[in-house]
Every structure is written in C-alpha cells, then in structure tokens.
C-alpha cells in the first residue's frame, strides 16, 4: 500500500486542527486587541490560520489524488522514492513555515507570508509530486475520465501559478505598484482555481464511485464544465483588483468572463429535482452527505461570487468582511466538505468499522458544522455590508464603521467557535480510524 497518501491525509488533519484553533483565537482578537498583542498578536495569528487552512486543503487533496490514482489504475500501492521525497520536503517546509510565523519572521505576500526562501522547497516538493503523477498518467493510455483531466490541470497549474505568485521577487515586477498588485492577485486568484481543480476532481471521482456511474465522468457536459472552470481560472481573477487603476480591459475581461458563472448557477437549479431523488437514495452514505453539503455551498457561494464580480456591487463589498465570507465560505463550505467526503471515503475503506461505530457522532457534528457555518457566513456578509454602507455610501471613518460592524463580528466569533468545535470532533474521529491495520472491507 502507498503509505505516503495516508501520511499526507493524517498530516492534513493536523493542519486543519491548527487552523481551527488559531482561527478562533484570531476572531476574538477583534474584541480585545491590546490584550492579545502582548503574546499572540493578530499579525502572527492571521498568517498561521490562513497558511494552515490553505495547506490543509492542498495536503488533503494531494493525499487523496495519490490514493485514487493507485486505485484507478489498480497499481500496486508501492511508494516510490519520488513521492517519499516529495512528502518529506512538504512536511519539512510547512513545519518551517509555522515556526517562522511563531518567531515573527515574515517577508512574503498575502496568503504566503513566510520568508520567501521557503517557496523553494514547496515548489520542489510539488514538482516531485507532479512527476510521480504524470509518470502514472502517461504510462496508461486510453480515454481519460474528466476527473483525471481536472487533477492533471490542478497539478500543472498549481506549479505555474505558485511560481507566478513569487514573481514579485524579481524587481521588475514589484517596482511598478500597479503591475505588482495586478500580477500578485492574478496569481492568487488562479492558485485558488488550481486547487479547486484538484478538489472538484475528487468530488467527481467520489460521485462516480458512490453512484456507480462511470459514464458521467466521460460525457460532454462534464467536460464542458471542466473547460468552463479552466477558463475562469485563466481569466477571472480581476475582481480582486477592480479598484486598482490598471488598464481598463483588465477589469472588462474579468467582468465578462465571470458572467459565464451564471451557466453554472442555472445548471444547478435545473438539476434540483434529480438531486432530491439522488439524495434520497444515498443519504445514508457518509461521504455522500458531505458531497451534498458541498453542493449546497457551491450554490450559495456562487450567488455571492457572481454579485461581487459586478463592478457596481464590488465597490461596496471590496475590502470588507464580505471578502472573508467569500474566502471562508468557499474554503470551508466547498473545499473542506469535499475533502471530508474524501477522507471518510478512504478511511472507511481501510477501517470498515470506524464509520459505523461513529455514525451518530458524525451525523450530529455534520449538522452542527453546517448550521454554524451558515450563521458564520451570514454574519460576515452582514459585517461587510455594514462596513461598505458606512464607508462608501456615508463616507464615514474606519473607526465609526467598525463600531457598527462589531456586533456582527461577535456573532461571527461565537458561531465560528461552534463550527471549529464541530470540525474538530470530525477530525478527531478520522484521526482515530485504524487505517494502518489490515481489517479491509
């Protein structure tokens, strides 16, 4: 068996737990900043939280992809030197990143605020993973299902976009403020698009397995949506920088492309009926529940994202907690839910008892996580609307706006704590599964 994929999956859960604990602390800093500044200031908490969150997603996705690829091609689950080296570098760089944050060493850009030298082992590790991945893909000829296309795209584009996110280290890129910001957020937007390819590919794979319907992974409609996603990855990052006075067409291109997302929204609405009958059939399967939740969150986040992509609306939402709602709504509601589906799927294959024994716990905390997330998300949106209203419409100062935002941040912190606790319990359930012993289903 390929132990590396299990190591990655377990390590990803540790990262998630870190992100959750630190996220809760960061939320409460808003109420007594002076107190926290003495020992764990926000400028340390935020990067630890965000980095641990992002690496939770990347690591869990990566571990899943390695496992599924072995499964799909019925390979001996052998661990090659390549993938071991990749894992080792990955682990080492993430630990170094967390240590550097704790000791107050920064130097990078938003979301990647660690000293830039650490980008090298990250890239190297990913490159080794990419070689492992393509060695398998290219050896096996024949028509490939859409999820393999999506994973391949994610693997390649993460490499490219992560390099792009580091271009600022070349003075030519950062010496022009407008170019600098535009390129940085082009890269950040596309990186998210890349890991989404890995995660959505995983959702597709799981659905094909659960529904025992391999055809859906080959049909034209699936490929249409895959290409639509890729198009958005390439062109639709401009909503991050609408208010930056770059060339006008940067904004126009992004605005036009982002409106293609209506197709996704309409498609979800059209499929609503068949979703219900599908749900009735599979709801007792735990991974399916998480997949279903992720689809509900796709729907909600898509509405928010489309609205934010309209420049006339963006001027009110930009630079407010609506951005945080957009970011966490998607990373928790969509990515985390799919990755939980994936973890439960793999772990119950390895330890057939664990999901039966824990069925009740999983059900309770599945629901509490999703309900808490709904209020958490809504509180952030209301906080953002309030700030936008006071600052853009009424031209009030930041202090005044924040006074009015505070009550929503309080709801955000409380519901965030419930959410964190629920995800923590689910993570612990997963960590306790006996995935290394051989009681295979």
């Amino acid at each position: 068996m390929n132990r590396v994929s299990f190591y990655l999956l377990r390590f990803s859960l540790i990262l998630l737990i870190t992100a959750l604990c630190v996220g809760v602390a960061a939320a409460f800093v808003f109420f007594d900043t002076g107190f926290f500044n003495q020992f764990l200031p926000f400028y340390k908490l935020r990067p630890i939280h965000v980095t641990a969150s992002i690496f939770w997603i990347l690591t869990a996705a990566q571990g899943g992809v390695i496992y599924y690829l072995n499964d799909y091609y019925k390979l001996e689950h052998k661990q090659t030197l390549l993938i071991k080296a990749s894992y080792f570098l990955w682990l080492l760089s993430i630990i170094l990143i967390l240590i550097s944050f704790l000791s107050g060493k920064f130097g990078g850009r938003e979301y990647w605020e660690f000293p830039p030298i650490l980008a090298i082992p990250i890239l190297l590790s990913w490159a080794l993973f990419a070689i492992h991945f393509f060695k398998i893909i290219l050896k096996n000829k024949g028509k490939k299902p859409v999820y393999i296309w999506m994973w391949s795209t994610g693997v390649v584009f993460f490499l490219l976009t992560y390099i792009e996110a580091n271009l600022w280290q070349i003075p030519w890129f950062r010496e022009n403020v407008i170019r600098d910001i535009t390129v940085q957020w082009k890269a950040n937007g596309a990186i998210v698009g890349s890991w989404n390819q890995l995660v959505y590919g995983t959702a597709f794979y799981l659905m094909a397995k659960i529904g025992e319907d391999e055809n859906s992974a080959f049909n034209k409609k699936s490929f249409f949506f895959y290409f639509l996603g890729l198009t958005n990855l390439i062109f639709n990052w401009g909503h991050h920088t609408y208010n930056v006075p770059a060339a006008t067409w940067v904004r126009d291109v992004s605005y036009v492309i982002s409106m293609t997302e209506w197709i996704l929204l309409i498609n979800i609405m059209q499929n609503f009926k068949s979703k219900i009958s599908e749900a009735k059939k599979f709801l007792n399967i735990i991974p399916y529940r998480f997949l279903l939740a992720s689809e509900a969150w796709v729907f909600l986040n898509l509405i928010l994202a489309i609205l934010m992509s309209i420049p006339a609306i963006n001027i009110y939402t930009h630079g407010t907690h609506i951005t945080v709602a957009h970011a966490m709504g998607a990373t928790i509601g969509i990515n985390t839910m799919i990755l939980f589906a994936s973890l439960f799927f793999i772990f119950s294959k390895r330890d057939s008892n664990f999901s039966l024994i824990n069925n009740k716990t999983i059900t309770i905390f599945f629901w509490s996580a999703n309900i808490a997330l709904l209020f958490f998300w809504a509180a952030l949106i209301l906080a953002g609307i309030t700030k936008g209203y006071y600052m853009v419409s009424l031209s009030q100062t930041f202090e005044t706006a924040m006074q009015h935002v505070k009550p929503y941040l309080f709801i955000f912190s409380i519901t965030g704590t419930i959410l964190a606790f629920s995800l923590l319990v689910l993570s612990i359930v997963l960590l306790r599964a006996k995935i290394f012993s051989n009681n295979k289903a």
Partner: protein
Amino acid sequence: MKFFRKHFYHFFFSFLFISYISYSLIVYFIGSGKYQKTLNTQALAGQLIWQQNNCQSCHQIYGLGGYMGPDLTNIMSDKNKGELYAKIIIRSGTQKMPKIDLNEEQIDQLIAFLKQVDESGKSGVNPENINYFGNYSLAQNSYE
C-alpha cells in the same frame, strides 16, 4: 478531421493553455496601462519592510489585506492625517496596533513606499462613476 475530433479535448486544452501564457504576458507587459512610474530605492526598501513586519495582516492597500485596521492606500494625502501622523503611529503603536520595532531609517523607507502607493491612484471608487453596464472606468495617473 477525424483526428481532430478524436483529440478535441487535447486541442481545446492546448488552446486554453496558450491563451493562459499569452494573457499572462499581456498583463505583465501592458496591464498597468499608462502607469509607468517605478518605486525609487527607498520605497523599494520600504516595500520589503512592509512585508517583513506583516503590516498587510491588519491593513489593506487597494482594499487587499487583513481587515483589523484601516486601508492605508491614501493615508499620505489625507488632509487630516499625512506623513507626520503616520510616523507617530508607526513609532509608538496605538491601543490596537502593536508597537513595531523599527528604526528611523526604516520608518522613512516605509513612508516613502506609502507615498508612492498613494500617488498611484485612489483606493475607493466613487459610485458616480458606475455606468450602464454595472462597470466603471478609472482615471489613470500617467507618469513617465
């Protein structure tokens, strides 16, 4: 034709991939439009200090960053604030903002950076600029 049909997905992927590379290059080289001013040495040093002290975890430039503190894009040209005010805050911190260990030279570099950021444009967009399509255009400061 049959060959094309058989490999349609590969062709379409290649098309998008080439578009990605081309669009990236276009954005790098002409995406900043008329704005061609470059940061001077002092401001470039200030930019790194901004990153090394993670000012972006609490502050935004053009609305991008963390949300604990205010946007600093136009603090230098703010009639009620400006350079002296910013220096005082950076030097001593406030109840909410931690005091950050910087010497006078580093503070000057930070200020030089913030000044040049300010000259590049305005962070907020006036709702009056919105047009019929829900879009707007922004006046660009053009410099040699």
